[in-house]
Amino acid sequence: MSRRNPEAMERSAESFTRAPKRPRGIDRRDFLKAGGALIIGFSSAGLMAGKLLAQGPPGFRMPGPDPRQIDTWLAIHSDNTATVYIGYVELGQGSTTSLLQVSAEELDFDLTQVSTVRVDTKISPNQGGTYSSSAIARGSPAIRQAAAEARQVLLQMASRRLGAPVDQLTVAKGVVSVMGTPGKSVTYGELIGDKRFDVTITGKAPLKPIAEYKLVGSRPPRNDIPAKVRGTYTYLQHLRLPGMLHGRIVRPRGQGAYGTGAKVKSLDETSIAHIPDARVLRKGDFVGVVAPREWDAVRAARDLKIEWDMPATLPGSDDVYAAMRADKTVDHIVLQRGDVDSAFAASSAAHTASGTYHGPYQAHACFGPNGALADVRADSALLICSSQDVYTTRGTVARLLGMKPEQVRAQYYEGSGTYGHSCYDDAAQAAAILSQLAGKPVRLQFMRWDEHGWDPYGPAHVGEVRIAADANGKIVAYQYDGWHHNWAAVESTEQLALGTPAAEWRLGMAQQVNPAQCGGMYNIPNIKLVNHQVDGLKYLKAAWLRSPLDLSFSFASEQTIDALARMLGMDAYAFRRMNIANERWQGVLDAVADAAKWEPRPPASRLSNAKVASGRGIALGTHLTSFGGAVAEIEVNKETGHVRVRRLYGAIDAGLAVNPAFIENQISGQLVQATSRMLLEEVTFNKTNVTSLDWNSYPILRFGECPEVTPIVVQRIDQRSTGAGEEVMAAAAGAIACAFFDATGVRMTEFPLTPKRVLAALRQS
């Protein structure tokens, strides 16, 4: 799809609607076995784990190509190359390149001989959503096994062709040779090029021993970067369809309470009569405008006179914590081990630290607002979107359109980074409805205020934590009580268009007090974690935001650990080391302490009275898997309240790091984004609606204030790969908060650490 040349203005529909790079000589549709198979066999564990968010009923049938077939996962071409079909989407984290490393390794191909195609419900395996930093953790076992199975079949074919037993064969760059007879060889392409394997995966093909890895663990560059740098990479926001209209949604500036939504009170279509080509489209309370020219659509959405009925039922961002704490809640014990009450009461609990901590709603705030393209016809629909889970998006859009999922083809194009469930489903649904109403293809682009104002935010949180240690510094009791609400299960478009009542996800992982994050890194005999679920319909629409709730948990828990260490007169590193849960936590703790040259010293606040106080903090953190550690070095201007994070060290142990360079980049980004979330980011709202609608009212960290960062990958080749996209954020959040106390002697109980909040805390002390 060459769009470099401004003259190349003619773009055929075909270039957008077919699989962008069809396997040469093969029609992928004929190539695939019918989908809808019950998931059994090799990949079921991984796939079901991948669907932990979906909570499907028993016997749930995953749509998509049959995962038991080798042909679902890869195709070998006559030119001795392979196309690998991957169910995980590229989000700028490099996972596509990493998964190609895994498949090339197992097939004994060079990295230059393998490529992949974009995720598309017509051709891609359904591996579940690209959630929870799962692309490598859950994606690589399935792809690795499929590649190993393919290699096994190819060796058997080569054995017959070359007249030599399989154990006498060796493979390099897809060329099979007979050992000791260099002239006797055949390529994979010659054996099966552009033909089906037609082989069911046995789950028994031997995997390459890790000791023989050449590609996995190495650091090839990402394959998407050159086009992104040249300006030739096609983001979703660049796509256009022939004969399409530009669409914009019209909603109140800033969402209200999730449960009440918004109702159109009055709408004056004549108010955009000065834009003759623009049309208003409406379904229920869902309103949009379309126009052949983009600027006309933008102006029409801006100028349309519309009044909304929005009840003033929100608590407001200033009072949200008190409201949550006062709410009637559904309580649930997440973890109980030992006897916490007796342990806190016992004389051995020599020191007890406790506190109440608050974390705000924060936005995904995608840098390029979400959008989608839809071409809805009478009996079929094409949907091009940035969903992290195209199969699930296809299902909900089909339901909205009154179609069967099979009638909708959903294709993934990368947008800007999404960091969790941003507005991509909302945008996909809205584009589909606009196209259905317009009877034409529609390209919908959210405006900045749509994205900031109608994001499913990471929810606000209140945490009460109490931790006790004995006189020797051993932690004896830990209790965490957390208040927050669950994620939204119904998108705003559906709510507005069909009147579907707002509903929340059932309680599940990453929506409750997290046992891995709250005390999980320490060896604690008596622990109790209680989740207090408030009614999310009274608050803002929420969803998973990178490292969901973990920054809040870490802010509360790691600060309390820090306070306990100080009560004991112990060094914050030494106290953690003494109570560490296992060697993998110890590995990341030692890694960041070494990198930061951590040495015991008295609290910085006692060493200096300078106007600009320096401090340091150390903390551990995770999401669901993997192990993260961080050290922060910060400065606090006690006159202005300005906090500057000067330097961050972050370490992760994510098991076998397929490409350590990509993980370093992920750590680096996590450290910077965590700084932004701890110092600046906060969704504000009054009783009616959200008021943080752009980069001025929802500021993020800028270039000038960016800390220096040191990312450290703890490579463990004997451990299975786990997530690497989230786990250092919580550690960094805790480290920054602990560093603030070190610098000032004052404990912050609410973030972000804005100058106003910091000055108030310093004055109170």
Partner: protein, 194 residues
């Protein structure tokens, strides 16, 4: 309403018919199908849509197309040619040094902000061939990155500056290193220890 506007974009003169108050961004993306400048906020807050107008970085999302009439617009796609003109090179290089440096540093994450990042950095380097950290941070402060790639972009600007001064070979790439697997023990890959 619509008037004809004459624009010189990446060295090619084009006439477009557009309402004069249409932001330049929509002309570049919808009429000329360029993929460098892109929509980010429409409010001149983020830098996604940046282009060079007669060599100075502007936000095309709030600049009316009429303001560019008769002027020279350079987008990301045109940076190598613009660089060649500035440096009076005999041939247009494949990439502007900042583009090569961004690849060498593997600075990009999602990459959406990199249009503006590279446009702004190219402008900075054209005015100050040897910026220090403080000058880079000040110049780049109006360009946001949600992925948090600033530290690598900082390195990329230094690298490009060195390339432009001939202090570093343009073909030299970072991190070419191969597998570093040490069996049965943890190894540390400390990037910024350099």
């Amino acid at each position: 309403m619509a008037t004809r506007v004459k624009l010189r974009v990446n060295g090619v003169t084009r006439e477009v018919e557009s309402a004069p108050n249409t932001p330049l961004l929509y002309v570049l993306t919808d009429e000329m199908h360029l993929q460098g400048p892109r929509f980010g906020c429409g409010l001149a807050q983020c830098g996604s849509c940046s282009v060079l107008l007669d060599g100075s970085e502007i936000r095309s999302c709030v600049t009316p197309v009429s303001a560019a009439d008769g002027k020279s617009v350079t987008t990301l796609e045109g940076l190598p040619k613009w660089y060649a003109e500035q440096k009076k090179l005999a041939h247009v290089p494949e990439l502007h040094p900042i583009q090569q440096a961004v690849i060498d540093e593997q600075a990009v994450q999602c990459g959406y902000c990199y249009n503006g990042m590279m446009i702004k950095a190219a402008e900075l380097l054209s005015k100050n061939p040897r910026p220090d950290d403080r000058q880079i941070r000040a110049a780049m402060n109006g360009h946001l990155c949600r992925c948090g790639s600033y530290p690598r972009m900082l390195r990329a600007i230094h690298r490009a500056s060195e390339m432009m001064r001939g202090a570093r070979s343009e073909s030299e790439t970072a991190d070419a290193g191969g597998a570093e697997l040490a069996a049965n023990r943890a190894t540390y890959d400390a990037e910024a220890a350099r």
